[in-house]
């Protein structure tokens, strides 16, 4: 059933997701939203990897995706911890307020 959907669609979808993510990272100032946008970009790439993996009948792509998800989970844990520390320090998570590496 998956094979009935042409690869173009997957590429389109993941490109759209990636651009949404990229624009979100660039445009938003709320750190959590920026963070979510980064996840979105990662998952756009994951989607593309899985799609091509199926197309080529090659399991390598899917293995990569698992790794990326595992690493992304770890990254989320670290990232959220950093965010909570930032909030404790400056009582805000606006990234524009973090323009200096000091108080």
């Amino acid at each position: 059933m998956i094979n009935t959907i042409p690869i173009n669609y997957y590429i389109m979808l993941s490109t759209i997701l990636f651009i949404i993510g990229a624009v979100g990272v660039m445009a938003r100032r709320n750190a959590i939203i920026v963070f979510m946008c980064i996840e979105l970009m990662l998952n756009a790439v994951n989607l593309l990897l899985v799609a091509f993996s199926t197309l080529h009948n090659d399991a390598n792509g899917q293995v990569f995706v698992f790794f990326i998800m595992a690493v992304a989970a770890a990254e989320v844990a670290v990232g959220l911890a950093i965010l909570s520390m930032i909030y404790r320090n400056i009582k805000s998570i606006d990234i524009d307020l973090l323009s200096k590496l000091k108080h």
Partner: protein
């Protein structure tokens, strides 16, 4: 025994290391004893080796210690050459060196730099031995530079006095000019012969064009001019008297300054081939002998008199080398080492007694207070004046006889120089030891004979001065000239005397007559009419003033070399350095600074901007890589 030649320079090196590293922790007598014993040990080994070489048929022995430089075609083993010439120098260096070490233990006793002094002195002996033992020009050069370094260190030994430091610098820089010539000579030898080992080079010398040999010989002679204080590079030696007196005796009279003569004798093959080079050596030697003798006539500093006398005597030795009388030159080196070391040490004893006073116009009548010093110095003075039967007479006479064979004009110049020698030496003797005391009352009270450690070396040297002439008795007296026979294997072109016995007798009688009448003249002048050196410059006659100021040579060098150099340096400093070089360097800095000022505006700290820049960058790169 010859195999053990390495021990000879090793002992002073050990002494140097011990005194250099632990000297401060040891007592004075301990460090003095180490220094003396190390040189004595070398002397003993040197005597044994000397006897073995004299006895054996094998005159030239090469002892290779280790392979030193091995690079492509350049192979230089660290090897020593043991032959009659180097053995003779070994004996002079270690023998007189030992006596002067012993003397120094007395002379330097009150000095705070006692162990430092002996450190330098031992190092000097080591390098000097290296210089005369080396089997190739490179080892000789290492020793050559090493003795220059020690000379510098010892001239500036009392480094708290700025004038002494300047004298040390002067000696070092003047020597550097000569050393450059020597180095160029060595390079030229290597280029032409493909080797710098004595044996190989001298063997091939005849097959090289004479012009090249002349160039090599002249460059080597430039080195000798610097080290042996010949015109025009002699001005450092009188200033070198700033060092302690034993240093003047050892380095600036007996050994180091004769290194130039050793080098020319060692390279006599070149000088035998090149007539031009020999002629230059002879003329420069004769001129130096005369020039320095004239300057010495009016000096009032006891050490300066002796220093100019040394320059003059070295000039005579070069005159001998130039006319091909190599063994006579070495003979004169030997006797000169005896009597000049004696005179310097005697002068040191006088200075010691006078509490540091060196001006002979402030001395006088020291005969009674310093009997041993007086007697030994009298012997030295008679010897240097060329009165038989003392050592100086024989060597000087031999040189003048050979010079007469070669050129009567040079003989005349040499004779005038030795006439001057007799005059200024007796002037110094009379002013110092006779007449009334002219110093302060305190000095008169302080006068005393020097301790045993100082007087014994004086006596030994006096004995050598008396009997040193036996080393080279004139052949026309029907005696054996040991010196010339001993050095026979080293000298390539023999120089048998072609003069008739009558001529030789005449020359000898003229020389002695001139010397004695000069001494009588000096006696009349200083004993009877009690002429004293002019107190003030205004009292001098114009020609005296010129001589007193050493013909203004220092001032002349100052005007033609130092001042223009300073002026050029100023121009370069102000224009080239300040404007151009500093401009370029500072300009670079300014540009970087300005660029950074502009670029740092990009670093806003806004994450959004960074990401934007990143995305734009990635898109640009992708875009360009896709359309390619």
């Amino acid at each position: 025994m010859i195999k053990l030649i390495g021990l000879v320079p090793l002992f002073p090196l050990i002494g140097f290391i011990i005194n250099g590293f632990f000297g401060k922790k040891m007592s004075k007598s301990m460090s003095g004893a180490i220094a003396c014993i190390s040189v004595l040990a070398s002397f003993i080994v040197a005597v044994l080796i000397f006897m073995e070489v004299s006895a054996s048929q094998q005159k030239s022995n090469v002892v290779e210690l280790f392979s030193w430089i091995n690079s492509g075609t350049l192979k230089i083993p660290f090897s020593f050459l043991v032959d009659p010439l180097s053995c003779l120098f070994l004996l002079i260096i270690t023998g007189i060196g030992f006596l002067i070490h012993v003397y120094s233990t007395g002379y330097m006793h009150e000095d705070e730099g006692f162990s430092r002094f002996f450190t330098y002195l031992n190092l000097f002996i080591f390098f000097m031995l290296l210089l005369v033992l080396g089997n190739n020009y490179l080892i000789m050069f290492v020793g050559w530079e090493g003795v220059g370094l020690c000379s510098y260190l010892l001239i500036g030994f009392w480094f708290k006095n700025d004038a002494y430091n300047k004298a040390a610098n002067k000696a070092f820089i003047m020597n550097r000019i000569g050393d450059l010539g020597f180095l160029l000579g060595i390079i030229l030898i290597f280029v032409n012969f493909g080797s710098i080992t004595f044996g190989e080079v001298f063997g091939k010398a005849a097959s090289i064009p004479t012009a090249t040999v002349t160039a090599i010989a002249l460059l080597l002679f430039v080195g000798a001019m610097g080290k042996s204080a010949q015109l025009p590079l002699y001005t450092w030696l009188p200033d070198a008297m700033a060092g302690p007196t034993p240093v003047s005796a050892l380095i600036h009279a007996a050994t180091m300054v004769t290194a130039g003569i050793y080098m020319v004798v060692r390279s006599n093959v070149f000088y035998s081939i090149s007539e031009t080079a020999s002629e230059v050596v002879a003329v420069i030697g004769a001129l130096t002998a005369l020039f320095a003798a004239v300057i010495a006539l009016l000096q009032t500093d006891i050490k300066k008199v002796l220093a100019y006398s040394t320059v003059s005597q070295l000039g005579l030795m070069f005159l001998a080398l130039g006319v091909g009388a190599y063994s006579s030159a070495v003979f004169h080196v030997t006797t000169h080492a005896f009597f000049k070391a004696l005179l310097f040490l005697g002068a040191g004893s006088v200075i010691h007694a006078m509490g540091g006073e060196q001006n002979i116009s402030k001395m006088g009548g020291l005969k009674k207070a310093l009997p041993v010093t007086f007697l030994t110095m009298l012997i030295g003075t008679i010897a240097i004046s060329g009165v038989p039967p003392f050592a100086g007479f024989f060597s000087k006479d031999e040189i003048l006889a050979h010079t007469y064979e070669h050129s009567q004009l040079l003989w005349f110049v040499g004779s005038i120089a030795s006439l001057g020698t007799a005059f200024y030496m007796f002037r110094m003797l009379y002013l110092t030891f006779y007449g009334k005391f002219r110093g302060t009352h305190e000095q008169e009270h302080h006068l005393h004979e020097s301790p045993k450690s100082m007087t014994i070396p004086l006596m030994v040297l006096a004995a050598l001065t008396v009997f040193g002439g036996l080393l080279g008795m004139p052949e026309f007296w029907g005696m054996k000239n040991w010196m010339s026979e001993n050095l026979d294997p080293i000298i390539i072109r023999k120089n048998p005397s072609i003069l008739s016995h009558e001529t030789e007798w005449t020359l000898m009688i003229i020389a002695v007559g001139v010397a004695i009448s000069t001494i009588y003249f000096a006696y009349q002048m200083f004993m009877k009419y009690k002429v004293l050196p002019a107190e003030k410059e205004a009292d001098m006659k114009p020609f005296q003033r010129v001589i007193f100021h050493k013909f203004y040579v220092d001032e002349f060098y100052d005007a033609i070399i130092r001042k223009p150099l300073d002026a050029i340096s100023q121009v370069f400093y102000k224009f080239f350095d300040k404007q151009i070089l500093d401009g370029i360097v500072n300009g670079m800095g300014d540009i970087t600074k300005w660029k950074s000022q502009q670029l740092r505006k990009l670093q806003t700290g806004h994450i959004g901007f960074y990401i934007m820049a990143m995305v734009v960058g990635i898109i640009t790169i992708l875009f360009f890589s896709l359309i390619k």
